[in-house]
Every structure is written in C-alpha cells, then in structure tokens.
Amino acid sequence: MSDLQVAPADAHEDQDEGRLLAALRTGDEAAFLALIDRHGGAMLRMARLFVRSPEAAADVVQETWLGVVRGLDRFEGRASVRTWIFRILLNRARSRGQRDGHWITFSALAGREAARGPAAIDPAEFSDDPSSWPGHWVREPRRWAASAEEELLSAELLRHVSDAIAGLPTAQRTVIELRDVGGWAAADVCSLLDISEVNQRVLLHRARSRVRALLDGYLHDR
C-alpha cells in the first residue's frame, strides 16, 4: 500500500467540524474569516472551471459566501461544512453559467470525458518489439533527479503543475483539483459532483497521467 493512498485530512477535521459550526452560529467573526481564507482559494479555482471570466468566478464565490451566511441557521450538518459550501458554489456557478448560456451538467461532461479515448497514456510509449516482453516501454521512464525536495517544490515547477492542470478538460480538471490539490476524499467528490466512483477514478487517472507526462517532459528537457 502506498503512503500516498487516499489521505483525506477529513478524519480529524470531523471533530473540529462541530466546533466550527458552533462558532459560526454564535457569530464568531474570526471563525468566519478563517473559513473564507481556508476555502476561498479552492472555491475560486473551482468557480473558474464553470464560468467564463475571472470576474464572473469572483462573483460566484461572493454569492456563495452570502448563501453560506443565509443558510447557517438551516444547515443540518449531514454533509461536511466544506461539502455544503461547495454544493452552494456549484449551484451558483450553474445559475451563472445558465444565464451566460454556458453550462452543461457535470455528470454529462464527466461521462463524456471518462469515455473518450482508449488509454490515458500514449500507446506510442509502448512496443511489442521482441527485444523485450510485449507491451514494454519503448523508452523506459527515468526517475526524476533525486534533487532536494525544495528544488522539486520550486515556484517555477509548481507553475508548470498549475499550467498542466489548467490545460486539462473540465471534468478531469475538476476531479484532480478536488482530490489532489484540495485533498478531498473520493467519496466526497462523487457525492458533490454526482458521479460514480468508477467515473471519478477514470477522470482522476487521465488527469494524473497527463500531468505526470507534462512534468516528465519538463524535468527531462531542462
């Protein structure tokens, strides 16, 4: 098993959840601002996936927070606060998208992207050449330089990761944003986006495969 395996931060967030909600309901401004700071970036990234302009995305985020404030009394805590907030965000983005004539249901998009293309990795990477077993690498991947993590986490490299994600089709991008950037658990993503576990995984697989390939190109071409 991998140490990277589905590592949602949710487990210990659960117990914080009740405290957070109680603080919000008593009107704790610091709790509210902390919530905005914690999710605001991810919300803006997510909104950008569904509406045309950065301005529209910022509007959607604003409307979402106003919706959160209005809904605080009614929120029953059946989903996590985060899932609740992002559901409101998706609804607001949908309204905005519809108004701008720019919306198709996510599950339709997800189905299409998950179905398209037979393989996530370019088939030309592999060969049935008899010099090795069938379906072997044409050129075996090489480990990325074992340079210090600080180099690996350089701002330049992170920009490449960000660009790689930005270039993905919308459904793939949404799933990788939530899962790998946002640290959401698979089940929460399926629930938020109303997609099957299988589709969620196919989208994640395509997205990760693509991002890895782009990074590999970048890291070996430097």
């Binding site: 990277l4 589905v6 604003q62 209005r70 592999f126 077993w133 991947p141 990325w144 990760r208 890895r212």
Partner: protein, 102 residues
C-alpha cells in the same frame, strides 16, 4: 539504466505488460485493485525498472499537485462578506433569514 531484474525478458514480470501497468496505477494508489491483480502489479513493479520509475514519478506528481493546495488566493470582498455575516448575526434571529438578503 533500465536493467531488469528478470533474466527472461520475453515474459513480462507479474504477467502484465508495462502498457497495462500504467493504466492501473491509479487503481493501485487508490487501493481498489483486486488482491490477485495487486499481487501481479507488485511483481511487475519488482521486475521492471521502467515501471518502478513511472510509479515513483507519479508519487512525486501527487506531492507537487498537493503543494498547490497550500497556496492561498486572496479573497475579494472580504469586508463585504464580513458585513453580511455581522448583519446575519445582529439581526433578530426570528427573521434573520430574510434580513440578510440583499
């Protein structure tokens, strides 16, 4: 580079090809590969340097992608939101649901 641990290169380690290996990497990392397939996956991993490097790259990719999540973007209109929050808090709760509507 690329030295395989298996002597016989006509047979893929674990009985799965590299082409198949890369397509189930996500299922492996997600922990949803059926037991028997996982055993073959890991046998392939042990015998194929290229796929071992691939998996390692994928793990690094996940670390990098996760690092993006720590970036915080400035939230516009924080003041306006705080006003809305105060409005909700300070309104008479019995009609709070209507009063914050703008």
């Amino acid at each position: 580079m690329g030295i395989s641990m298996t002597a016989d290169r006509s047979v893929a380690p674990g009985g799965i090809s590299c082409r198949e290996f890369v397509e189930v990497v996500t299922d492996y990392l997600e922990g949803v590969l059926p037991g028997e397939v996982r055993v073959r996956f890991e046998a392939h991993l042990a015998g194929c340097e290229g796929c071992a490097a691939y998996l390692e790259q994928m793990r690094r990719t996940l670390l990098l992608t996760g690092a993006l999540g720590t970036e915080s973007l400035p939230v516009e209109g924080r003041d306006r939101l705080l006003d809305a929050f105060r409005g909700w808090r300070d309104a008479d709760r019995t009609d709070a649901r209507g009063t914050v509507e703008t």
